[in-house]
Amino acid sequence: MRIVVEKRDNKSKSAAVLIPLASFAISLILGAMVLLASRSNPLQAYSAMLNGAFGNARRFQYTIVESIPLLMCGLGVGVAFRLKFWNIGAEGQYVWGAIGITWVMQFWKFLPVPMLLPIGLLVGMTLGAVWAGVPGYLKAQWSVDETLTTLMLNYVAIGLAEYLYISAWKAPLGNMGTPEFPREAWLPPVWGKIHSGLYIALAFVVLLWFLLYKTRWGFELNMIGKNPRAARYQGVSIKRNIVLAMLLSGAICGLAGSMNTAAIAHRLTKGVDGGYGFTGIIIAWMAGLNPFASILVAIVMAALTTGADALQIAMKLPESMGEVLQGLVLIPLLAGSIFVEHKLKVIKKEAV
């Protein structure tokens, strides 16, 4: 008897739902083992996390605030992933968004104050798009490996931002960070801590869903991702679409950066490379590139972070437990991903 993995004829719908649920359960069990091994009560720890993430209105708001940039980055990279373009440069594109809005707020003095925010967001978006467009063009024109180029460019953007807030654009007072944006140009709140970036993010969910599932362009991207040869025979321009998808992808990640900067730090400062771009990649993948599913995944990943912060306060456990759980949830999910398109088949006897 032996077990073989066989390709399914169609994607399994039930597997697509059951596997994430099972993975989450497995990760909680594995996490409980880590907690037990470190002399902590897992049930107590998990309830502290749950309470920390959703326990009251203020905590719930923090979790949502944390999920907004994650959702945006997930949506952004998801566009490029549609055509199997591995944009892992979301982090850098996000940072460029933050640089862009800071540039506008600090130096475009000729603009009336009410114009600073919209123009700042636009400039951030544009810079993010350009930063993503370069590797996109290199890939389209000369097949330069995008995974490696986008990864390298992240650190260039992060280093540049550091240079700007530590020296070139530093506020005269204080030891780090650019001057604070004018208060009128902050992203306005909608409910407590939650800022109007939430509306922008949700608008992008709907917009992308429409673009990717209901338009000819979305259809083309899908076709390139699934079967580039067929796409070429149909007269779809692969090069053009790679560049376009990367521009859009970078624009969304850039907007995530400028939005979050205008809403939370109100200036370019330490912590601008918060890892949203990297987690965004995981969110896009976990959501199966579906914009609506990304909302839920982003909230779960954000809750693991805010919950872990509470864990530190409530149980004096290192907050890195959040990262451990984020990593742990992925491992069974990655392992299970094969069953969406494949099935196990037990062969009792070898046919002779």
């Binding site: 880590v34 892992i88 390298m152 280093g159 550091e162 984020q326």
Partner: protein, 320 residues
């Protein structure tokens, strides 16, 4: 002269860790598996090495445990990417997330009760000290190569050996075949999954060792996230070395040198013409240009560019 010798010594000390991890990633990528989990694997290695050394005061056992843990962590990556044909980018990021988180978590749990179970702030009973070779160490400048720790001396054998192994033995040929064309390799009678597992694990062991070099020798201590992005520099260094183990050392010397230069100039109070942050991202920018230019120049000469053709792709015999 003294400044240059000191700079070189600092570069070698920092480069040792990078070189081990780079060699490991080269072995892995050569078989077609991209392991972006290096940062997490190195950090786990650093932690495992430090915790073992604290508990047993045996540095060689510490190295062994670091390699074992590095190997274990990359076994997960191999299992996900080879057996379960999962996405290599996502799997690598998951390994980095999990490894970084777990190392930082355990760092605050594995220490002695007297230090609130924390490893941060503990001092090692002993560390890998530099051993000077008489006479050779007195050579101007290059003498710096002969006043290093055992971990660095070992590299003087491992680097040429790795080059020889990769390009002059049948084992190296098998690695390259699997990374260039898994289909051809299968036809040659090689087991693609077995080789990919083997060299992903070996790569992880090297990464664990590279991490331990940091916590047992370079900066003998434990700190949260003490690898500080070195695992990502490794990914860049592999490209810079054009996937050639023999060239791995050039990249580490150049990039280790840039970083050391940054520190020593700062320490010397020299007013910088180039901002330090520019030096910090220079390796990545140089790698970006190197990769792009090399790929563009090799457009018409198929196969002459060093990147393994099957890098990042999963393989199953029934694939069309």
């Amino acid at each position: 002269m003294d400044f240059i010798t000191k700079l070189l010594a600092a570069t070698i000390a920092m480069g040792t860790s990078l070189t081990y991890a780079t060699l490991g990633e080269i072995y892995t990528e050569k078989t077609g598996i991209l392991n972006l989990g290096m940062e997490g694997t190195m950090l786990m290695g650093a932690l495992a090495g430090f915790a073992t050394a604290m508990a047993t005061a045996n540095l060689y056992l510490a190295i062994l445990v670091a390699m074992l843990i590095g190997g274990l962590l990359s076994t997960i990556h191999a299992f996900l990417c080879v057996t379960m044909r999962a996405n290599q980018v996502v799997s690598g990021l998951a390994i980095t997330m999990f490894g970084t988180g777990l190392a930082n978590f355990l760092g605050q749990r594995l220490g002695p009760a007297s230090n609130n179970y924390n490893l941060v702030g503990m001092n090692l009973p002993s560390k890998f000290d530099n051993i000077a070779v008489p006479l050779l160490k007195d050579i101007p400048i290059l003498g710096a190569f002969f006043d290093v720790s055992v971990l660095t001396y070992a590299l003087y054998i491992i680097i040429p050996f790795s080059w020889y192994y990769m390009y002059k033995t049948k084992y190296g040929l098998a690695i390259r075949a699997v990374g260039e064309s898994p289909k051809t390799a299968t036809a040659m009678g090689l087991s693609v999954p077995r080789l990919r597992y083997l060299y992903t694990i070996i790569g992880g062991m090297f990464a664990g060792l590279g991490g331990a070099c940091l916590s047992l020798s370079f900066t003998p201590s434990w700190n949260d996230g003490m690898t500080g992005g070195k695992g990502w520099i490794v990914i860049a260094l592999v490209i810079f070395a054009t996937w050639n183990p023999g060239k791995a050392v050039i990249g580490t010397l150049v990039f280790g040198g840039i970083t050391s230069l940054q520190f020593s100039l700062q320490a010397a109070g020299v007013k910088m013409v180039i901002p330090t942050q520019f030096l910090a991202f220079a390796p990545y920018l140089i790698t970006f240009f190197t990769l792009s230019v090399m790929t563009i120049l090799n457009q018409n000469r198929k196969g002459s560019f060093a990147s393994p053709s099957a890098l990042g792709t999963s393989f199953a015999i029934d694939d069309k």
